[in-house]
Symmetry: C2
Subunit: 142 residues, 2 copies
DNA sequence: ATACATGCAAACACTTTGCAGCACA
DNA sequence: TGTGCTGCAAAGTGTTTGCATGTAT
């Protein structure tokens, strides 16, 4: 095992701005676009590429959590402990799931075909409260 | 409840070709690109849009299963019973997980915030056998 | 006959990248 | 003072859509 070279990082203003934006949007599972808008509103010179790059760096460092959503933009959050998510099929919003984390879920795998499992995600799908209400409205009107 | 209008579908040659391609690739979790290539090789006039549209129709009808993979192309398979998947972080390949389906997993949710859960997916991540071997090779060489 | 389906190309959403200049350590 | 970072724009990937034409029922 060679010495793990620490990821070289500089503390740039832009990086701090991205981190601040994520912090300020804590709990809303913002997309990179949301974060870009926050940062860009105050500092118009900051580019989208920089936001993406810094979100990547911060996620790699474990300072923020990247939630990869199928068929939708990646979302970010401060919460670094593993947990699951709910995604609305209608509006695409994402919520944290209030449910214990199954750290040993991979133990249930009977045959991994040589695969080395390092983690897992669970995504619940359905309709959020708002979209459920909207759907009901629409049903009533025919 | 108004009568559920059956999804109108015609049995076109193109639809059959897409279905055949999925069948022939059963077990490999092909992407839409894989399926398009198969179909297009034999029938060059078939367009990408048609393949996408038909994959959508077939998935909606339940004849095939759409596996939505975060940060990667959607994959399709014949197997219609719900099950979980393994995704290699290095090469992006997808395998079926040999693991019982937790039909009542959503019961563990203690607070759904008004969300009506209709389903869930579990995606295990890690390294497939091939990429594991490749990584080891690389480590030995330094 | 008439919708649904097709083919084409353009648009779309999200993300990455090449490159020249800048600035943190 | 050098390498990591930035901004810009362009390219890349995967998918959808507008529209005129075709075809299954």
């Amino acid at each position: 095992m060679t010495a793990q070279t620490a990821a070289p990082t500089r503390n740039t203003v832009q990086r701090a701005l991205v981190m601040d934006a994520v912090r300020s949007l804590h709990g809303t599972h913002p997309t990179s676009a949301d974060i870009y808008e926050i940062v860009h509103a105050e500092h118009p010179h900051v580019s989208r590429a920089t936001v993406y790059r810094n979100l990547g760096v911060l996620a790699e460092r474990g300072e923020i959590l990247r939630v990869e959503v199928p068929n939708g933009a990646d979302r970010y959050d401060l919460r670094a402990t593993p947990h699951y998510h709910l995604k609305c099929q209608a509006c695409g919003c994402v919520l944290d799931a209030d449910m214990p984390y199954h750290a040993d879920l991979a133990d249930e795998l009977t045959d991994t075909h040589g695969f080395r499992v390092t983690g897992h995600t669970i995504l619940f799908t359905g309709l959020c409260a708002e979209c459920r209400a909207a759907a009901q409205e629409a049903a009533i009107r025919g």
